[in-house]
Symmetry: C2
Subunit: 341 residues, 2 copies
């Protein structure tokens, strides 16, 4: 036996490091962005990553500054016809109704309990605030997280007959993986509830709670049986939408993103803020133009600007004029959900 | 030449990994916690770390949950006789005075400009708020950071004749290093200004901006020459002190710390919140009892409870009754500053 072929005894730490190196190699064998068609969107992503990770280029970015921010609803998972968190809130209204007989006569609860879809579609911001206060507050942070977890474990979307957490876009999960494999930290920057999203961010997106920036209500430090708890109060603390997104990014991260992904006017300022930084930046908007596999709304069916939460024709024009990339779900994505054939 | 001694050609990635392994080994040769005397404080730290990092123990903690939070003023660096950020604010009042002739007759500015130390020592919270609004707001976040950076580069502490950033406690830097080497992420959780501390947190403490949780003022998203900026408004947004510390920890990190370090009543709730978690937790308070090398205040010289920002006798009693560890600067620390002989 040739002595060169002997496997030397390695110290433990060194062996662990070798194992790590082999794992990285194994991961590299799965093709990145497998659910993306070869097209302009995929090309933009790959070129950008090459640009900022190649030390020989002037636009090289140090790993600690590689921040990518993702809107959630409509960007990472289905938001149509209703945000998942809104479905949770409406379900809670039904569950809590027996304890609130007055809701049968009081709006907006009356409309919810009567399943009056047209009334619900026209709920004002203060209607939603009343619903959130009634369903998301008056309990500890831990109790709230337990409620969300329990609901997500059983609730299913009526069209796809899947748990809501399965309605994430497979290409976007691959994009997050690809960015992380290239040294990026991926943050969720959502108009939705920060405490809500943190319940499943790690298991669904691989994003730890500390990398979820979202809207929040006030919490109060109290004692229950001598033990400190954080009670959720029925008052808004921070709205992480529109201008709130760059404000939240500065507040929570303190660094400007190099890449930002959204789908609606609420993401406009986040993309602007990202683009205003120096060097190479990637700004992308998801266009919902696939009525067969998902939905078509916004510019794809000429929805007016007034429709809250959707990618409007005006935003589409702005994207074109500013050089933001538009991701066509229909053209750029081979498959949309992991359960798609 | 014996062929066994040949250095084989390694693929680039593998060579990089080997280099990393060698670097880790090199670090391991510097003794951890070198500026700590062998005593109960060091013993508590080492035992706790062993407890939560040993997979065979029931109190083992997964690396992603290893969170350690540090108060800054009086815990990581000198806070006596005045917080560094307050020195910055007072200096700014002097600098801005020519543009504000009315300050000569208006408190609290009049007292600052007259260097009236006894008046300044009795400034109320609203006096300080007026000073902060006048000195910390009305500019973009970037302009503010540049100002802080510039000031820190030249300002010196009158007693030690050192830049303020040199007045960090060497044993606490080693403690942060030791925790990080054991998989912890170290956060600063300060009553001081988040944007202020973020300017130097990486270079001074090895703590990146996104791991600084602090007090903040409102920011507003605006356009200057078509470019988006965040303007600092003269209104408080969040006070990260007392109950604000656990609230801030939940808001920014979303995980309960396993170790927390403070020195004053403002840190009490953070330590309580940490201790209320399950498994092994480490709660420590720095006692300023070394008038020769630093200062003696709080329980060390019987200061009354009313003195804001100091480790009070009441807190000292609470620490003893709750089993929190007290770090005696005099007994537990071999040296206090890196410039000490």
């Amino acid at each position: 036996m040739n002595s060169h072929r002997k496997i030397p005894k390695l110290p433990g730490a060194f062996a662990a490091v070798m194992f790590l190196a082999l794992s990285i190699h194994a991961n590299a064998q799965t093709p990145a962005l497998a659910s993306w068609n070869d097209g302009p969107a995929k090309q933009s992503i790959v070129s950008f990553v090459k640009e900022v990770t190649d030390r020989s280029r002037t636009n090289y970015v140090e790993p600690q500054d590689r921040i990518a921010t993702f809107d959630q609803d409509g960007t990472l998972w289905v938001e149509h016809p209703l945000y998942t968190q809104a479905v949770f809130a409406l379900t809670r209204v039904h569950e809590l109704a027996p304890q609130h007989p007055e809701w049968q006569q009081r709006e907006p609860f009356k409309a919810v309990l009567a399943n009056d879809r047209s009334a619900m579609a026209n709920f004002s911001e203060s209607d939603w605030e009343a619903i959130l206060a009634a369903t998301h507050a008056g309990m500890t942070t831990e109790a709230f997280q337990a409620l969300v977890k329990q609901w997500l474990a059983t609730a299913k979307d009526p069209r796809f007959h899947q748990p809501y957490t399965a309605l994430v876009y497979q290409p976007m999960l691959e994009l997050m993986d690809y960015l992380r494999a290239n040294g990026f930290r991926t943050y969720i920057v959502t108009g939705g509830g920060q405490e809500f999203v943190r319940v499943y961010s790690q298991s669904v997106y691989g994003v730890p709670p500390e990398q979820v920036v979202g809207s929040s209500i006030l919490t109060k430090y109290e004692y229950q049986d001598g033990k400190p708890v954080l009670m959720r109060e029925p008052n808004v603390f921070f709205i992480d939408d529109n201008a709130g997104k760059p404000i939240g990014i500065n507040l929570f991260i303190g660094k400007r993103p190099y890449a930002a992904f959204g789908n609606s006017p609420g993401d406009k300022q986040m993309l602007e803020w990202t683009q205003a930084g120096s060097g190479a930046r990637l700004m992308m908007l998801v266009l919902h133009d696939d009525p067969v596999r998902e939905y078509a709304y916004g510019p794809a069916n000429g929805l007016p600007d007034t429709k809250v939460g959707t990618f409007t024709p005006a935003l589409y024009e702005e994207a074109k004029s500013k050089g933001w990339d538009v991701i066509s779900m229909k053209k750029d994505w081979k498959r949309i959900f992991s359960f798609d054939k």
